[in-house]
């Protein structure tokens, strides 16, 4: 099993770097993962991560993209409340890349 080192401790991750146990996630991990992808996390990135985790706690799955974009729209207005903008924030895909930073499992299926 692959691991990710964070603050001197090893955490189990899968082949693509998703945490195996979402409950051990620490906020700082998101920044480390983003850095490896050459991304710097701004406020909007963090809003997505926090929302994902809150949603996951309640529903055991990430929300559909539309729910995410609506959340952004509420806070930042129409222009930033779009799928296009989400992909600008998370070029690897909002569900997939953002979920990884948030310590959540990757959504799979016909998606």
């Amino acid at each position: 099993m692959a691991t990710m080192e964070f603050e001197g401790q090893d955490y189990e991750v899968d082949e693509e770097g998703y945490l195996m146990d979402w409950s051990v996630w620490k906020e700082g991990m998101a920044g480390v993962m983003a850095k490896q992808d050459g991304l710097e996390l701004g406020e909007e990135h963090w809003d997505v991560i926090k929302f994902l985790r809150e949603y996951f706690e309640k529903y055991q799955i990430a929300p559909m993209i539309k729910i995410l974009t609506k959340e952004l729209k509420k806070k930042y207005g129409k222009e930033k409340g779009s799928t296009k903008y989400l992909y600008e924030l998370y070029p690897g895909g909002p569900a997939k890349q953002a979920c990884r930073y948030a310590g959540l499992p990757k959504p799979t299926g016909c998606v």
């Binding site: 693509e16 539309k66 299926g109 016909c110």
Partner: protein
Amino acid sequence: MADFEVPELTGEIIIPKVSPGASRHIQQFKAKPELMEELKFSAEKGSDWKEKFLLAMEDILKKYKSVRVFLDICVRCGSCADKCHYFIATGDPRNMPVYRQELMRSVYRKYFTPAGKLIGGLASAKELDDDLLDEWFTYFYQCSECRRCSVFCPYGIDTAEITMAAREIMARIGVASKYNYEIVNKAMTLGNNLGMIPVALESTWEFVEEEIEEKLEEVGITGVGVKLPVDVEGADVLLVTPSADFFAEPHIYSLEGYAKVFHQAGISWTLSTHASEGGNFGMFIGNYDHMRTINKRIWDAARDLKVKKVVAGECGHAWRAMYSFSNTLNGPFDFLKEKSPQHICELTLDLIKKGALKLDKSANDEFTVTFHDSCNVARATTIGGTPGDQFTIPREIINACCNKYVEMDPETCGEKTFCCGGGGGVLTDEVIEIRVKGAMPRMQMYSKIKESHGANFFALICAICKAQFTKVFPYYGYEMAEVGGVHQLISNALVMGAKEEV
């Protein structure tokens, strides 16, 4: 964007020179032992794997006579050789259907035919070893079970069935794809491929209701009250659609379309938290037990909710599972008023023809639409019960709700359609290279009509196609928003509100 070469779009499909091993490095992640055990397969490849493998193969050959026949009758004429999208895109000869099947045939000859047992290599028989097994794992997961090659095979050999058998044999020794078997497990335990629990489903469906309402309000229509009813006993229709319709874009827009159609036609319908998945990956892995268990949820929900009929949403292999396999797996829907499931496209077109839906074509005027036939609908089913209507019905719907439609090269449409490149359990990110390349033949044809007619909407009736093309379009420099569902177009054009008498 990619660490491999994305094919150039020229509008032409050119058969490449053979390039042995060109896609040998592309392999799916393997399923973990715990997962395989949970699904009642061998946990992992043990030291006795060869014996187990051959026992599994013997069992399959006995159980599924068709597989044995297909192994025996191929005359290596080569008609299939240049028909596979993965071969056309990579040049790897192992992606010629005949040569991919040779991976199984060589083992079959060696251990199951007198000639192979006797003279081995001279009869093209091959000893089973680790290398060969690894090739199996690579290339039987580089087949999307699309069955295009079968259309051109003079004997009608069903390549997908060979692939399914190969995956099942490997699973029995604990060698399997993580992506496929995880999904099967989620469908078995939670009821859908995404793993959405009932409360997540209900909250999502509620969200979609609000979305529909808000969009209508934006154009000045209020109080329509389109609902997505949940677990309603006594509804006439149970809609079973892929769970991707509850999660991804553009899938969700077709879900809005189905709901609006039902609403406008005054049909009482329901979704089910129990049968919350149309897709059935049991088919992709060639395991009929799992396929039956997954399929049975639809059956049980239909019985429990006392509906009159089951309608299938936009999903290619789900439709095949319901249309072709359901009856054999779990018996006919004989307790329903309508014994066979109905495809949503047939239902919608009937309503259009009856005049029950008012469509404003101009709502789609920004689009020049084309339709991509999905393999499992095109080559394994019909939609309305007469041959060929799986091709005409979706096109008739599009033409009823759009002014501008353009067809791609007919040699690549209908039963000769090219796979999206992500079907049959290939839709996973670690094999993105084969997915992007596999989409190339279809992309060439789309680029051609884009150039000539300005096509800008790629209409689909399959969840896998939708996910695959939204992912690969950007690699080719196209916007993912050009990919959408047939019922998305209906949703755009459907005039809501005051109803005319049906």
